[in-house]
Structures are given as structure tokens and as C-alpha cells.
Subunit: 118 residues, 2 copies
């Protein structure tokens, strides 16, 4: 038996951050392009752009900015605030998972032992 | 911004315990009747019975037993193993939520402060 966890952030009942949104930001950071990030997520560019804008509005910060020129002829990049959110949220997810494993082990008597064997 | 969490237990990718199943067991404990517990969950008796049986098979323990006679003319009750699972899983949920709040505060700089204000 394995504990599983899903975490997200809400503000006034509205979803403001999730693993899905984290993946979108991570793809932007990796690809340097919102178009390519959208493709990787199976989203239209318009849909991905809308998700970024919604997230920026909810959080009150700019997360993704256009980058002009350069070898690739421009693209998108995370702002420092976007990078910080990406890093912190990734840490939040990893530590949340570890915390749930600890709580499970503590309540049910150790990893690998299920509710039935305690 | 508020962290939210959903936890459940899986075995080999199969869902074996969840908040929904916990509520079903809690209603059985409260009502002393699987029929009444099913009604409170908006389930047919057959569906509720199936969920209990599935849970018992997955965990390898009997959780609900028939109670014959008495003032109410019989009903259902949790076995000691069912009671233990109910109590432990409720503790697991409560402690999971507290742990996630702690992790969030630690990563994002305190309750009430969101990702945007750090």
C-alpha cells in the first residue's frame, strides 16, 4: 500500500497553482518558447497563453516575458518571479510528497506495511 | 492563497482507500446500518455493499459485519479492524493536511502569504 498525494493552491476557492501549471512553466523555461511549451502540453498556443495570463492575474505578478532577437529569433522566457515560483512550487511538491510518506509511516506503522497489516 | 491537499492509498496502482471510502465507513459506524449509510452517501445499498466488499478484498480484512437482533432489529457495524482503519485513516487525513500547511509555510514564507508576496 502506497500513500498518494495531490496538492494545489487556491485563493477564495479558485485554483491558482497546480502541478499542471508547474509543468507549463517548466516547459517554457526548458524550451524558451511558449509555442513549443504549448505543443508539449497538447495545448493550442492561445490556450497556453490564456493559462499563463490567468495565473499571472491570480498571483499579481508577471511570470513569462517575450524575448526578442537572438539566434532563435525570439521566444518566451520566465521572469525572475516566474523562475522563483517554478523553483518554489517544485520544492513544495517534492516536500509535500515526502511529508505525506512520513505521516503515513507514522500513522500506519512504517512504509511497506498497509492498513491491513497493522 | 491556501494550500489544498488530497490524499489516498493505492496498491499496485489500484485505489484502496480514500476520503470517500472513509465517509462510507464513518456513516456505517454512526448509523449502525449499511442501508442508512448508503442513503446518506446517495448510493444504492448494492453499490455501497460493493464498495465495502471491494475495500475488504483489497485490504484483506473484514471491516463491516452484520448485527442481528437488538432494539433496531439488526443492522451493520464496523469490526474492530474497521474501527481501527476508520480512526487511523481519519488521523492520516488530518495530519496530512497539517503537514502540507507546514510545508507550504516553510517553502513560501508563512501562512497568509502567497507565492506572489514572497
Amino acid at each position: 500500500v502506497q500513500p498518494r498525494v495531490k496538492v494545489w493552491l487556491e485563493e477564495d476557492g479558485r485554483l491558482v497553482m497546480s502541478e499542471y501549471r508547474l509543468r507549463l512553466l517548466a516547459h517554457v523555461a526548458e524550451c524558451g518558447s511558449l509555442t513549443e511549451a504549448a505543443t508539449r502540453m497538447g495545448l493550442s498556443y492561445r490556450r497556453a497563453w490564456g493559462k499563463v495570463k490567468e495565473l499571472e492575474q491570480n498571483l499579481g505578478v508577471t511570470l513569462v516575458e517575450s524575448v526578442h532577437g537572438g539566434a532563435g529569433g525570439g521566444g518566451s522566457a520566465l521572469t525572475p518571479a516566474g523562475r522563483m515560483l517554478l523553483d518554489r512550487y517544485a520544492a513544495f511538491l517534492a516536500r509535500a510528497e515526502a511529508a505525506i510518506n512520513d505521516v503515513y509511516a507514522d500513522v500506519f506503522g512504517g512504509p511497506g506495511r498497509g492498513p491491513s497489516s497493522t
